[in-house]
Amino acid sequence: MTEQDLPEGFAALEHFVSDWSLGTALERDAQRGAKSADQRQQFYDAFTPRLGEALARLDQTPLNQHDEAETKLMRMALSYAHVAQAIEVQGPDEDRHARSRKRLLITSAPADH
């Protein structure tokens, strides 16, 4: 991993790239369940204050022209939605909920294409 993994200004989030920059909604959903509550919380705490800034930065470039760094940040923002649902909604029920999610697999999402 290098400092150029994410767009300039987002270096503080670099160490989350390998866990949370995932290509499909199915993978993001699975990772939400595979990571521990602490790992989810760390990502959530780090990303929550940066979400608005990240989307504003990414909105400056058309999606099909995102470079590698922008794509990584975009995918992390998408993972954030999954993690936020775990933390803000499911809370202590998340582990039980994770089992049910394995029954409904996300087969397609616009961001996958």
Partner: protein
């Protein structure tokens, strides 16, 4: 009288016409009853199997299994732009033509003896055809009735189908006003469940369970006045039904959801999707189709029966246009996560219900006033099965 939020329960008098009897349990697990339903219900009704956005170009095709009628269908957009459905069955000796779930082709060749058909279903060529005792014109793929409403593709595998729009009545026009009619893409998730299709379907047309099964994810739905999140209104339209979801004025969304909806609403407004009077309506088309009209979390859910105690559900959130920018992409993913989480919570409890019913412990199950849509489904199914029995002497 309504309380602080103005909510009032739908009174029993509105659904008196459905009766109040206990409902027999056997049709929810009995294989013999299921065999009757195949012909009495599913052969005689329109089934939603997809959306026109899956067939963007001439030659685009999808393969769809309609297990309840033991059919595999090939749905193709022809050279003329028309969408047609055929049995995915070579007319030579019945081999299934296409294995891929979707793709694009101008011709379809049977792997067995290379009989080759055009996108209009006509037999183009067959090796050594002069050795056969039949004309090519008589060997086209078997076509299935297909009609489109609101961009949704419906097929009918029975005889002399009533036109789709007539079948849907006033709901057809209402559906046409919803984003699904203009959808170009979707998020999809699906499940297989050990449950009778009616039991699975019923879960999604009553709100009585919300506060217990969706105690966290359903929180914005509940208020002191309406602790169960019951609907504001029911509608009955022949075999179909609707419910108007109640809007909780006290609802507070979790922050990430509020952000997503906040990003989405201006996008939907720009696209002219917010002006729908049916945006809080939940459409339940007979036999096993749902659609929620809400413009920013707009989903279709179809329960496909596989056997008396097994079903497959496919849920799609439909979107208009490809993701326009990062914010829209994020909002769509977040809104889909929200819906997915809720649907996931239902699977275990539906299966627990099926195990109980299938044990034969109960002769009857019970449905309260606020579960009237479930009662309406059973009444409709029973009537169709009774008619079929009378006609066929079974």
């Amino acid at each position: 009288m309504g309380g602080e939020t103005g909510f009032e329960r739908i009174p029993q008098s509105e659904v008196d016409f459905l009766g109040t009897r206990p409902i027999p349990a056997k049709p929810y697990y009995d294989p013999d009853w299921f065999e009757l339903e195949r012909e009495a219900v599913f052969r005689r009704t329109w089934q939603c199997i997809g959306h026109v956005c899956e067939l963007p170009e001439n030659g685009s095709f999808i393969r769809r299994e309609v297990e309840v009628l033991r059919a595999s269908l090939l749905v193709v957009r022809g050279k003329d732009g028309e969408i047609r459905a055929f049995h995915n069955v070579c007319t030579h000796r019945g081999t299934q033509l296409v294995e891929e779930a979707q793709g694009k082709r101008t011709k379809f060749s049977c792997p067995y003896h290379m009989w080759t058909y055009g996108a209009d279903g006509a037999l183009i060529s067959a090796p050594d055809f002069d050795q056969f005792h039949v004309e090519k014109e008589d060997c086209a793929l078997k076509q299935v009735a297909l009609e489109i409403c609101a961009g949704l593709i419906f097929v009918h595998l029975g005889k002399d189908p009533q036109p789709l729009r007539e079948w849907l009545g006033p709901l057809a026009e209402q559906m046409e006003t919803l984003p699904v009619a203009r959808a170009t893409t979707f998020t999809e998730y699906s499940y297989e469940i050990d449950a009778n299709w009616k039991l699975a379907y019923d879960n999604f047309q009553e709100n009585y369970h919300l506060r217990f099964i969706h105690s966290r994810s359903g929180k914005p739905t509940f208020s002191d006045d309406n602790p169960f999140g019951y609907p504001a209104e029911f509608g009955f339209h022949g075999p179909h039904r609707t419910q108007q979801l109640w809007s909780n004025p006290e609802a507070v969304s979790p922050p990430y959801q509020a952000t997503a909806f906040g990003l989405m609403i201006p996008k939907a407004t720009e696209k002219g999707l917010m002006n729908t009077e049916h945006g809080r309506k939940y459409f339940a088309l007979f036999p096993s189709f749902f659609m929620l009209g809400t413009p920013v979390q707009h989903f279709v859910h179809v329960v496909y029966p596989l056997s008396a105690e097994k079903s497959r559900g496919v849920i799609r959130l439909y979107w208009v246009d490809e993701d326009g920018d990062a914010s829209e992409r994020y909002a769509r993913e977040a809104i889909a996560v929200t819906a997915h989480d809720v649907h996931c919570e239902d699977v275990d409890v539906i299966e627990a219900g099926q195990r109980g019913i299938s044990s034969g412990a109960l002769d009857h199950i019970h449905m309260q006033t606020q579960e009237a849509l479930c009662r309406h489904l059973f009444n409709t199914v029973e009537e169709m099965v009774d008619d079929y029995r009378a006609e066929t002497g079974q």
